[in-house]
């Protein structure tokens, strides 16, 4: 789960990482009020989970409450890079002397934590790693021993010359705070880009990017609750409430399958067949007829879906149960969309028979995954199956 900037900064503040004074606003009026509270001169930042806000108009420097109101109105109505903006963060404007970069992430390939700093900030860090790898200082931290002063000394080495001596301990304290967020909040990434040295000598996190491990949310109910602040579309919300693994995509073939790898492979085959997947939906293992029925209802409720592909390779999932679930859903919803079904694995014979005997006009049974992808793609383009 990726947090919004303002949520990340709240987490930072709880771990004594200095952040700018800021107020979250959901309307242009409240953005105006926030700017008044902050003294008029401030920054309005669209809250979206995508980078490039600075260049793309997602951050506005304003000099009055009027301007803050106008900037917020624009962001809230126009969105940013195609994403809906439901909140802006209005922050005090600070006088910046130097921009830096700091991040700590869980490095999955070594199973250790990886801390990184650079004496440049506000930059595309992948770009920096490619073009000037020596500018990015990387230090691995064994989670068994945690972060020690020598780790920080190694990191601070990269900032020599970029920081006055008296600011060094401020950056070190921030590194301590970031490591706390990573380990105590079950984050997989904490990134500050930029971390800034102010002309008054303070060091402050001007941005915050925090990713939390979904599997650990059960032990952080307060973090889980932050999800309610996320805008979600109705289809996604429905899928989540049903406990389904669902990701909205921008094609026209609705996909239902069992197992993440098989579903990903199905999306790829649909594209090879010349269409695009409208979603990723994994029903998991051993799904009940009710879960199958809900899955089909969820996919059919997406207006961009022109055909549906159900691809099941039953291990603990039983094909006869899948067939029953599909038929149950079709009794509850009316849809003009054709549903291509491929069943293999546990109880295939029974599953195929159930569908054949029902003879539902919307269900097209096929024998293989490849054939299913091709048929679903043709149907999505309005051609005959």
């Amino acid at each position: 789960m990726d947090l919004y900037e303002h949520q990340g900064k709240d987490l930072f503040a709880r771990h004594d990482i200095p952040v700018p004074r800021g107020i979250v606003a959901e309307t242009a009026d409240s953005a105006r009020a926030a700017a008044e509270t902050l003294g008029g001169t401030c920054v309005v930042k669209a809250q979206v989970q995508v980078g490039g806000r600075g260049k793309g108009g997602g951050v506005a420097l304003v000099d009055s409450p009027d301007e803050a109101e106008a900037a917020a109105a624009r962001m809230l109505s126009e969105g940013f890079k195609g994403m809906r903006v439901v909140r802006v963060l209005v922050e005090e404007r600070l006088s910046i002397a130097k921009e830096l970069y700091a991040a700590i992430l869980l490095d999955r390939s070594t199973g250790t934590d990886l801390a990184m700093v650079a004496a440049e900030g506000g930059i595309d860090i992948e770009e920096l790693a490619r073009t000037k790898p020596e500018a990015l200082c990387r230090v691995h931290i064994d989670p068994e021993i945690g972060m020690h002063p020598y780790h920080r000394s190694a990191l601070m080495g990269a900032l020599t010359g970029a920081l006055p001596a008296e600011a060094r301990h401020l950056v070190e304290n921030i590194l301590i705070g970031l490591y706390e967020v990573l380990t105590q909040e079950d984050a997989t990434l904490v990134e500050v880009n930029p971390l800034v040295l102010l002309t008054d000598g303070r060091v402050i996190a001007l941005d915050a990017k925090v990713a939390i491990d979904d599997n650990a949310l059960y032990r952080h109910p307060e973090t889980e609750a932050l999800r309610s602040a996320f805008p979600v579309d109705a289809v996604e919300l429905r899928a989540r409430e049903a406990g389904l693994q669902y990701v909205k995509l921008d094609g026209e073939v609705g996909i239902i399958g069992n197992g993440a790898g098989l579903v990903m492979s199905t999306l790829d085959l649909v594209q090879r067949a010349g269409a695009g997947a409208a979603n990723f939906l994994d029903i998991g293992g051993g799904a009940s007829a009710e879960v199958i029925a809900t899955s089909l209802e969820v996919v059919l409720s997406d207006p961009s879906v022109r055909s549906v592909l159900v691809n099941i390779f039953g291990g603990i999932t039983r094909c006869d149960i899948v067939a029953e679930g599909l038929l149950a859903a079709l009794q509850r919803v009316t849809s003009n969309v054709q549903i291509v079904v491929r069943l293999d694995g546990t109880n295939t014979v029974e599953g195929r028979r159930v569908l054949k005997e029902a003879g539902h006009p919307k269900i097209v049974q096929v024998a293989t995954m490849l054939e299913a992808a091709e048929k679903a793609a043709r149907l999505a383009h309005g051609e005959a199956a």
């Binding site: 999955r108 250790t112 197992g259 790898g261 098989l262 579903v263 990723f280 994994d282 293992g285 546990t346």
Partner: protein, 289 residues
């Protein structure tokens, strides 16, 4: 021979009295696997379809000679089960559980370094050496004994590819489900190493997906050390960046972990990469001809 499991494998099922343990332990036994014990704390003396239940793994090992654990413990306490199995000196620990926090797994991985136990998983379908032993949830009937070793990050996609191999009369020495979590037990490299030394394996099929760099590191290993042919498949060519595709580990971060980069790395190392599961089986068939 095969790798990891064979006729000598004696399995203790941790949380055998839970829903999944109750279902799969007897299924594994029916396949021919020596399922000798179960463990559920506080339930010693009970049995699951004749399989005796013990309070601790140590008790089960002492009484039955179990050498392999199959973990069906829920995510909140699964790592505890892995620690207990490792502390009881089990040779092999296969953890099926999905949903373990990654920081808990980091600690497990660190603890297991230098220990005698090998971990497979978590979030995996288990391991099967067709005709010999099946430890986990892979449907035994789709497999057939033979000389292809298979290692995969995915469950049902593995079934699909195994099924296509079996339909062409190509059997398998061992199928290893390494799991879909970002931090896990053995990976492609360890499996390739084992298959490279197994006298019953002629070719390896590796099934990867988006996220992380397991496939890229495997490609480097193959280029350097692997003499036997390897056929690959990567799922997720159409997955958008930044979205988790079902598995905790299946996510493209920034520009890293894409299917294209993985397939290219493997192809550079001489691996034939199929673009569909069917093509993978065809490539394997051709390489074995």
């Amino acid at each position: 021979m095969a790798v990891l499991i064979d006729e000598t494998t004696k399995v203790v099922v941790q949380n055998i009295t839970g829903h999944e343990g109750r279902f799969h332990a007897p299924r594994n036994r029916a396949y021919g696997t020596k399922v000798v014990a179960g463990v559920t704390p506080g339930r010693a003396g009970e049995n699951v379809e004749g399989i005796p239940v013990f309070d601790t793994v140590a008790d089960a090992v002492r009484e039955t000679g179990a050498n392999t654990s199959l973990v069906f413990v829920p995510p909140q306490s699964a790592t505890e089960a892995i620690y207990e199995a490792a502390d009881s000196d089990l040779r092999l620990i296969i953890c099926i559980t999905e949903g373990i926090p990654v920081r808990d797994m980091v600690r497990v991985a660190s603890y297991l370094r230098g220990k005698a136990s090998t971990l497979v998983g978590p979030n995996c379908p288990g391991v099967i050496s067709p005709g010999k032993s099946n430890v986990g949830i892979i449907p035994g009937e789709i497999c057939t004994p033979g000389r292809v070793g298979l290692v995969s990050r995915s469950g049902t996609l593995t079934y699909q590819i195994v099924y296509e191999l079996t339909q062409r009369g190509i059997g398998q020495s061992t199928c290893v489900g390494m799991g879909g979590d970002p931090v896990h037990g053995i990976g492609f490299i360890e499996a390739l190493e084992m298959f490279g030394e197994d006298p019953e394996t002629d070719l390896v099929v590796m099934i990867g997906e988006i996220g992380g760099d397991d496939e890229e590191r495997a490609a480097a290993f193959i280029a350097e050390h692997m003499e036997r042919p390897v056929v690959g498949y990567i799922a997720g060519f159409t997955a958008p960046p930044g979205k988790r595709m079902g598995h905790a580990g299946a996510i493209i971060t920034g520009s890293r972990g894409t299917a294209r980069a993985k397939a290219e790395a493997l192809e550079e190392a001489g691996v034939k990469v199929g673009r569909t599961p069917t093509e993978v089986a065809e490539l394997a068939e051709r390489a074995l001809a």
